[in-house]
């Protein structure tokens, strides 16, 4: 894929010094074609600008002093450059300083929300991926009566919209006295999602049975095979699944909004919503808000920079039916 893309990407400005693999393709025959190509590339560039520019605007606003934003609304550079917004969000500014810079003076417990988000996203990811892997093992490598029926039932729940189960789940968590606890936040996500099981089962089905059978002849039990053979061999899809799950959980809003309103368990997404509505005197603290959203998005952005290829290549359709 890459090679063909490379050879086709720059037909026009190929340096003359390079020995062409193809005999001189830049002749008159190609000219109308190049116009199309230029047009297509323009569209690609426009799409990328539309996609990326808002993030730059987020950064620009976060680096501005809130009080100066209004008078420099269309200036592309930060208005009255200041790190105050970041300091304010991270609690490094006194309320007086904050108000002087146009902040609300009200504290947002950013560090606390950050901690809560980390706990919520990592616990649910770890549980969900591990338990789903166990179930996927039972659905793919073990033979037992009713296997396909149970698997079908699991898959069917993919069709149920989250809001539908959210109300009864809320009532149950409330009755269990788990509102505003990490247990209440995490439980519905902790054990499985149909998608995770489906995803891993597909991979386990494709793994070779030989090593496993040899181990079994040696008297190894299923637990050992699962931990020492299956899981290590499935490291790549497990990592991809964990990455996707973590991003999804980090961004989750609806369920934490229902059961995690309390400060001590409030996650970043919910906290940001509260922060926005917290603008007592007139104009909202835009730079503070943008600094907060930027920091809240940072973990996902970093993960994406580190493992982006894995995420991008994991998106497709070949297995869904």
């Amino acid at each position: 894929m890459t090679t063909s893309a490379l050879s086709r990407k720059t037909p026009g400005n190929n340096p003359a010094g390079k020995p062409g693999n193809k005999p001189a393709p830049q002749g008159a025959r190609r000219k109308p074609f190049n116009w199309r190509r230029a047009g297509a590339w323009t569209l690609v560039v426009v799409a990328i600008i539309i996609t990326v520019a808002p993030f730059l605007w987020m950064l620009r606003t976060a680096l501005s002093s809130n009080a100066s934003l209004a008078s420099n609304a269309s200036n592309l550079l930060p208005a009255d450059f200041s790190l105050g917004a970041f300091k304010r969000v991270l609690g490094l500014q006194t309320p007086e300083e904050a108000i002087a810079e146009g902040g609300s003076g009200a504290a947002i417990n950013f560090w606390l929300y950050l901690r809560n988000s980390i706990i919520f996203a990592s616990v649910t990811t770890a549980g969900q991926v591990f338990f789903s892997a166990m179930a996927a093992y039972a659905f793919s490598r073990l033979r037992w009566p009713g296997r396909n029926v149970v698997f079908g039932l699991f898959l069917a729940t993919m069709m149920v919209p989250p809001i539908f189960t959210a109300l009864p789940n809320f009532l149950m968590i409330k009755n269990l006295g788990l509102l505003n606890t990490f247990a209440g936040l995490a439980l519905p996500f902790l054990f499985m999602t149909p998608f995770a099981i489906f995803f891993l089962r597909q991979f386990f089905l494709s793994m070779s049975r030989e090593v496993e059978e040899a181990a079994m002849l040696d008297g190894a039990k299923h637990l050992r095979i699962f931990f020492q053979i299956v899981l290590p061999n499935a490291a790549a899809p497990l990592a991809t699944l964990a990455l996707l799950t973590f991003i999804g959980q980090w961004n989750e809003y609806f369920w934490p909004l229902l059961v995690g309103q309390d400060e001590n368990v409030r996650v970043l997404t919910v906290g940001l919503g509260v922060f926005k509505s917290q603008s007592p005197q007139g104009a909202p603290d835009w730079s503070g808000l943008m600094a907060a959203t930027l920091i809240a998005a940072l973990p996902v952005l970093l993960l994406f920079i580190a493992f982006g290829k894995r995420v991008v290549n994991s998106i497709g359709f070949s297995g869904i039916k």
């Binding site: 894929m1 990407k9 190509r37 297509a40 569209l43 690609v44 799409a47 996609t51 808002p54 993030f55 605007w57 609304a73 338990f131 166990m134 073990l142 009566p145 039932l153 699991f154 729940t157 149920v160 919209p161 809001i163 539908f164 109300l167 009864p168 789940n169 009532l171 149950m172 439980l187 519905p188 054990f191 099981i197 597909q202 991979f203 494709s206 070779s208 049975r209 030989e210 699962f226 991809t240 996707l244 999804g248 961004n251 809003y253 609806f254 997404t269 940001l272 919503g273 835009w286 808000l289 943008m290 959203t293 996902v300 952005l301 994406f304 290829k309 998106i315 497709g316 359709f317 869904i320």
Partner: protein, 318 residues
């Protein structure tokens, strides 16, 4: 996050792949197979399935036939919630608003994503470009909503500055009844277009190149090739993309909750927002449950109709 993901190709490990499915394992009960150990492996997932999917689904349906305000016990009232809903103007308003949102969101999103996918397929196959286009999808709904809430601010938002610079009147994107839903739809088009494009792109890549070669040998024009080769062969993927995106679109909530909260007046009170307000604002869990049963039925119908009439599960390739 609704994720549709490419699964590891079962043929990939082909060389070592050996099915000895029929060889019986030594020393095991033939009929029950690995049942005991399987139960152990499936136990945690089964707990999650029963406690957080199966029971709530049944309980949700039950609650929809009751009056329940969290305090006390639910009282059975038969179909009174449903008859009330059909006479409820706010419900019909919510449905209309939601449909308007879905139409705008899916319409623009699908066309733009199809265009982007074709561009990626034809000229820009680099992973970097695909990664950049995927970026908004990875950031939380809430963050995307807040970012655009700021950029579309009436007074000092950059978009209104640009509009103003062109000499046009400023627009109250989130603040006016006529603009609220188109604005929210637009924000979510921005968030999802790259992701949707990648799904379609994956479908494009699965079209074998020899089909195109034959077409170009026959001298078919680009437009002709697109309409008579690409589109028919892409149809199954497009249908699946539509099913998934339409179902997701019906459940829009985060963006609305963070920006307009359903207003101004009722202009952006989408169905999930209405359910949320009924349940948690007015503690009317019976009514809210009935609303979500209706939403559930609508979504199932939508999926069924799309699969049936667009024949999503058949490919024209064979």
């Amino acid at each position: 996050m609704t994720t549709i993901t490419k699964l590891p190709d079962p043929v990939a490990g082909g060389s070592k792949h050996s099915h000895r499915g029929n060889t019986p394992r030594p020393g095991r009960g033939r009929r029950l197979g690995d049942l005991r150990i399987a139960l152990l492996f499936i136990l945690p997932a089964m707990i999650g399935f029963v406690a957080f999917f199966l029971v709530p689904t049944i309980r949700g349906i039950y609650l929809s036939f009751t009056e329940y305000s969290v305090l006390g016990d639910p009282t059975w009232i038969g179909t009174r919630n449903y008859t009330a809903i059909f006479a409820d103007e706010l419900f019909w308003n919510a449905m209309a608003v939601t449909l308007q949102y879905v139409g705008l969101n899916i319409g623009f999103q699908t066309v733009i994503a199809l265009g982007l996918a074709l561009l990626m397929h034809r000229v820009a196959k680099s992973t970097l470009i695909r990664g950049a286009l995927l970026l908004p999808f990875l950031v939380a709904n809430v963050i995307v909503a807040l970012l655009w809430f700021w950029m579309l601010d009436y007074q000092i938002g950059i978009v209104n500055e640009i509009i103003n610079w062109f000499g046009l009147p400023r627009i109250a994107f989130f603040g006016s009844e006529q603009w609220a839903i188109p604005t929210i739809a637009g924000v979510n088009v921005w968030r999802h277009m790259g992701y949707t494009a990648l799904l379609i792109f994956a479908g494009l890549q699965s079209i074998p190149s020899h089909v195109y070669e034959v077409a170009s040998l026959d001298g078919a024009s680009q437009t002709r090739t697109f309409w008579s080769i690409t589109m028919p062969l892409l149809r199954p993927v497009l249908v699946l993309v539509l099913v998934v995106t339409v179902i997701g679109s019906f459940q829009v909530f985060d963006t609305v909750a963070v920006t307009t909260g359903g207003g101004p007046i009722n202009a952006s009170r989408v169905i999930q927002m209405y359910i949320y307000q009924k349940a948690f604002g007015e503690s009317d869990f019976g009514y809210a449950s009935a609303l979500s049963v209706i939403l559930f039925v609508i979504l199932a119908l939508v999926a069924f109709i799309q699969m049936k009439f667009l024949k999503g599960n058949e490919s024209d390739l064979d």
